[in-house]
């Protein structure tokens, strides 16, 4: 069990490291990096200090979305960092960060010398977007601790570590399966025929179906695994995360890979939450809890403390 936990932590750290190291190659030697920030600003990092008069002039920049070069986005404000290497452009309307943007600058002036003009592409790497969805679903917007979903099953199966891990793994498998089917059904059937008002009815049926499907497949393919995890399959239907994930991916019009990452993040996030909670509750059994708090009440208080701790992840949110 310890080994597995260590693996989990290592994988998590690796993912974070990759995410942090994802930078943008810009194609101009004087410009080190261009990136979106907060969904409404673009930050340009230069290799050296630029002249303030040049940097603060709105006419020196032209920004448009890659598919329509005729629509220039109006710049609201330009800020320059104290060391004069970072320029932050803010825009009147929020930027569509899923779309690549082109940023053209007029002749750049640095310490009186010209560095030439630059045509820069600002885009979010697709890989980065997928990762941000994954981390978002798993930690930043953890379904249990920040969205408060799936609590019935969460409190029901978090008494023992073994039960918690079993439930978490089973749930992850089913939710990925269900989310992919929901995505396909939504994109290729419900949307083209304008039946989106049937979302709830279709998705709830789909979740029950996928539970049944996973049950049948697992029973035939891997009976040993089925023996270990079969008990938890029924509980998955009662978990509201299982129905929330399809609804969220339909609302946000996620693509296939994005839906996959959302489902995987939701499943693993649930696993992490269950594991943390079960570790705490195993200790609680040895503690001297006041009689009126025994059982569920103290579990709720503990969950509240976890939720407070998970608030800290909101600083990690990646736009």
């Amino acid at each position: 069990m310890k080994e597995r936990m260590r693996h989990l932590t290592l994988t998590g750290l690796l993912l974070v490291a990759i995410l942090v190291s994802v930078g943008c190659d810009t194609g101009h030697r004087f410009v080190k990096k261009t990136e979106f920030k907060d969904g409404e600003t673009i930050v340009i990092t230069f290799a050296g200090p630029v002249d303030e008069a040049w940097a603060k002039e709105k006419a020196n920049y032209a920004v448009y979305e890659e598919p329509d070069p005729d629509i220039l986005l109006p710049i609201k404000e330009i800020r320059l960092s104290p060391d004069r290497t970072k320029v932050t452009l803010s825009f009147d309307d929020g930027l569509n960060t899923r779309q690549a943007h082109v940023l053209k600058t007029k002749e750049m002036l640095s310490e009186g010398r010209s560095q030439g003009t630059a045509v820069l592409t600002v885009k979010k790497l697709y890989f980065g977007l997928l990762l941000s969805i994954f981390i978002g679903a798993m930690l930043v917007n953890n379904f249990v601790f920040t969205k408060y979903l799936g609590l019935c099953v969460f409190f029901g199966t978090s008494q023992r570590k073994s039960t918690a891990v079993g439930m978490g793994i089973t749930f992850t498998i089913v939710i990925v399966f269900a989310a992919m089917m929901a995505w396909a059904l939504y994109q290729f059937v419900l949307k083209p025929f304008q039946l989106t008002f049937l979302n709830i009815v279709v998705f709830i049926g789909l979740v029950s179906l996928s539970v049944q499907a996973v049950d049948t497949i697992l029973r035939k393919v891997n009976p040993a695994l089925f023996k270990a995890f079969g008990v938890y399959l029924v509980l998955v239907i009662a978990n509201c995360i299982a129905i929330a994930v399809p609804l969220i991916l339909a609302d946000n019009e996620y693509t296939g890979p994005e839906s996959f990452m959302l489902a995987l993040g939701a499943g693993l996030g649930f696993l992490v939450a269950l594991f943390l909670m079960s570790s705490a509750r195993e200790r609680l059994e040895l503690a001297n809890v006041p009689p009126s708090f025994r059982g569920l009440p103290i579990a709720f208080i503990v969950a509240g403390l976890f939720a407070l701790a998970f608030l800290g992840f909101s600083g990690m949110s990646i736009h």
């Binding site: 019935c152 049937l198 009815v201 029950s208 129905i243 609804l247 103290i298 709720f300």
Partner: protein, 207 residues
């Protein structure tokens, strides 16, 4: 307990007090934690649940003789999903602001254990009138619990009730934070447990 059929009035109060969905049965905890920040939110979601519960109970009570026992659970789920879709579209059309505040929770009524449980335990075995009363009681019990939670959190968090300033200052801003939902529900449950313990002790002393 004797196998005596309860009167409609008893059925009605059963859901509000003895078998209150949130405080006594500890079912449907997600909305209790998630959106009980104000009395208004609790009231609206409570009304939505009341609607779904009453109409699903009546529907199942009407068609119970035609449902094959092996497919009863899927039938319940689809019935609930249909009524949830109705209330979802109605709320989205008439109270868009509150609908946004409640977010995904209205759609998630479909997964509330309490509704399926009442259909399985009660509506599939009883008449339409009895099911109506039972559904009404359960729905009102849920609404009452949600409003109590909302009242505590709104009063302690913002010093207001239903948006009206009551205290004139906000005692503990912490309570409007989302994670406080866990604490409030936990403390309320502990309070109910405490009352029960004291009550039982008194009864013993009297004997």
């Amino acid at each position: 307990m004797a196998a005596r059929t309860k009167t409609n009035k008893e059925l009605f109060f059963n859901g509000i007090l003895n078998e209150n969905p949130i405080f006594r049965l500890a079912l449907s905890m997600c909305p209790a934690v998630g959106i009980s920040t104000t009395v208004m939110n609790g009231l609206l979601l409570g009304m939505a649940v009341l609607f779904v519960q009453v109409f699903s109970s009546c529907t199942i009570a009407l068609i119970k003789d035609y449902i094959h026992p092996r497919i009863r659970i899927p039938t319940y789920t689809l019935t609930i999903a249909t009524w949830v879709t109705v209330i979802d579209l109605v709320l989205a059309a008439y109270v868009p602001v509150a609908y946004k505040a409640m977010g995904i929770f209205v759609k998630l009524i479909v997964a509330f254990a309490i509704i399926t449980m009442r259909l399985e335990m009660f509506a599939s075995k009883n008449s339409v009138t009895a099911s109506f009363c039972d559904g009404l009681g359960m729905g009102l019990g849920f609404m009452f619990a949600m409003m109590t939670l909302g009242f505590v959190r709104e009063l302690l968090g913002m010093g207001t009730v239903l948006g009206y300033d009551v205290l004139g200052f906000c005692p503990l801003l912490f309570f409007v934070l989302p994670s406080a939902g866990f604490f409030v529900v936990g403390l309320m449950m502990a309070m109910f447990n405490y009352i029960e313990i004291v009550y039982n002790r008194r009864k013993k002393v009297k004997r």
